[in-house]
């Protein structure tokens, strides 16, 4: 059997609750595509090698580094970025709350409980790592790993904060985890 190798690939996927089809060069990373092609700049390009975690997004509800993921590997999958997080409020598994906001527009409205907890606990200084911290925290809670200080520190270790706001980030994740149904919102 011979495989059909292509230099442009059509990729159907769901982005922040909206179904779309994009055509990419196979080398396009999810991070570059989000930032440069779609205009969603929430996921940041820190190290571009999987060391800092500031590009963390959810793919089918699981946190992943956007810089270590090709767009072609996301075919048929559901991608959630920090821009789609507010819309995930009250969403069950696989959904984004029933609405289908345009994926490149601000959703507005109420913050996701994890976003609110970060604001309430002052869990940032410069804010550069925050989009990745938020997405990682949402997944960390959904996985059931936000049980105590040590577990949060271990399971959030893939997100580096050079301002070193770790005590506040840890508190915010634990506070958000204590909210009822917080673990229902991973957007799988």
């Amino acid at each position: 059997m011979t495989l059909d190798f292509a230099r442009r690939v059509e990729v159907p996927l769901r982005l922040n609750g909206r179904d779309l089809t994009t055509v990419v060069a196979p080398r396009s990373t999810l991070l570059d595509w989000l930032r440069d092609d779609i205009g969603l700049t929430g996921a940041k390009k820190g190290c571009n090698e999987g060391a800092c975690g500031t590009c963390t997004v959810l793919v089918d509800g699981r946190r992943m580094n956007g810089c270590l993921t090709l767009v072609v590997q996301c075919a048929g999958r559901s991608v959630t970025t920090v821009e789609g997080l507010a819309a995930m409020r009250g969403a069950g598994p696989g959904g984004t709350g029933g609405g289908s906001p345009p994926c490149t527009e601000k959703v507005g409205g109420e913050l996701h409980p994890v976003q609110r907890a970060f604001a309430e606990h002052d869990a940032f200084q410069c804010g550069y790592c925050t989009p990745g911290q938020l997405m990682s925290a949402v997944a960390c809670i959904a996985e059931g790993h936000a049980t105590d200080d040590a577990s949060v520190r271990e399971w959030m270790s893939g997100n580096i904060c050079r301002c070193s706001a770790y005590p506040q980030i840890t508190e915010a994740v634990l506070a958000a985890a204590r909210e009822p149904a917080a673990d229902d919102r991973a957007g799988r």
Partner: protein, 341 residues
């Protein structure tokens, strides 16, 4: 990153067929491959994606054998009840590797094929210094430069790098077999022989070869004997999480007799132990495994046995500390596996 053509494989056989063309790379999770592309360590014309082959992602038990598909992710393996019960050292090694988000992508097939973290090797091309792994025969800059983190066993003047995989150490300790598929059909490679030291590679006339995998071959999964032995994986590193090992040790221990009064002081029936990040392959301490049965499970009894088994270590000028650190990691792994700490 250089442009490449892309195809999804519908079967493992189709992927292996595409790999017959040496300008082709296989992608599973991609966490290592994408960085190779960026640095110029690999620059294929074609990439074949095996990520959709769900049949290679299964974790199940077949009688006395635990079977783990090559596409199972490190998080899936690390938290799977079958693995935590029957291969605890492997589960622990998987969860101590990388970060939570990398472990959601990284597969156990790709993980053992990751290459050294030697900073002289992992630089962007064009390389400003010699590196025999990047430019065969050019020499080893680390040997003349900094080499605190490099090998204490099996290195040559050509290269002093270590293999950094955590799961590979546990797989070698647990006597896992890798199932591979290639142009000549399927075959099996024992994981304790899968990687080659620089010395072993030189002895077969291929000084830069790193594994027994042949060109065009693909790992499809692993088979491990189910073990009731107590197990542990100890990883020593510069920060508590999300860091490569300076040294590591995987161990499995079965004790003799009843457990009255705890494991401390009980005698060892059988023990297996392997070191990580001390050579270009996981380093089974075979001599220690032969000497440990009958010994009490105490630090004092273990130290001389481990030291004798490591007597052939040849540290470099800057990494003599790794001999002691590895000895202590092995002792700690054995004590933990046996329940004595």
């Amino acid at each position: 990153v250089r442009d490449f053509a892309y195809a999804r494989a519908g079967t493992a056989e189709a992927a292996a067929g595409a790999l017959a063309d040496p300008r082709t790379s296989v992608i599973a999770g991609g966490t290592e491959l994408l960085n190779w592309f960026r640095l110029g360590i690999a620059a294929p014309d074609r990439v074949v994606d095996i990520g959709g082959l769900d049949e290679l992602r299964r974790i199940d038990r077949d009688g006395d054998e635990l079977r783990i598909g090559a596409l199972a992710t490190l998080n899936e393996i690390g938290e799977h009840p079958l693995v935590t019960q029957a291969a605890g050292a492997l589960a622990s090694a998987c969860l101590q590797a990388a970060s939570a988000q990398i472990r959601n992508r990284a597969t156990i097939g790709g993980n053992v094929l990751q290459r050294t973290r030697c900073p002289y090797f992992r630089a962007e091309e064009p390389l400003p210094w010699p590196c025999s792994k990047r430019d065969p025969g050019s020499g080893c800059t680390s040997l003349a430069g900094r080499h605190e983190r490099q090998a204490i066993f099996g290195w040559t003047q050509e290269c002093v790098a270590v293999q950094p995989s955590d799961p590979a150490v546990a797989l070698a300790m647990l006597d896992a077999q890798a199932d591979v598929l290639g142009p000549a059909g399927p075959r099996t490679i024992p994981m304790r022989e899968f990687h080659l030291t620089q010395r072993e590679a030189a002895d077969v006339g291929q000084p830069m070869r790193e594994t027994r995998l042949e060109p065009g071959e693909l790992i499809t999964g692993y088979r491990l004997p189910v073990s009731a032995d107590g197990q542990a994986y100890v990883k020593v590193r510069e920060r508590a999480s999300y860091e490569y090992a300076i040294v590591s040790a995987a161990a499995a221990v079965r004790l003799d007799g009843a457990r009255a009064g705890g494991a401390r002081g009980q005698r060892i029936a059988t023990a297996r132990v392997a070191l990580g990040s001390v050579a270009q392959r996981p380093w089974r301490l075979t001599a220690a495994e032969a000497g440990l049965p009958g010994a009490p499970l105490t630090r004092e009894a273990l130290i001389p046995v481990i030291e004798r088994a490591m007597a052939d270590a040849v540290p470099l000028p800057q990494n003599g500390f790794k001999v002691l650190m590895a000895r202590n990691a092995a002792v700690r792994a054995l004590l933990t596996a046996g329940g004595a700490r």
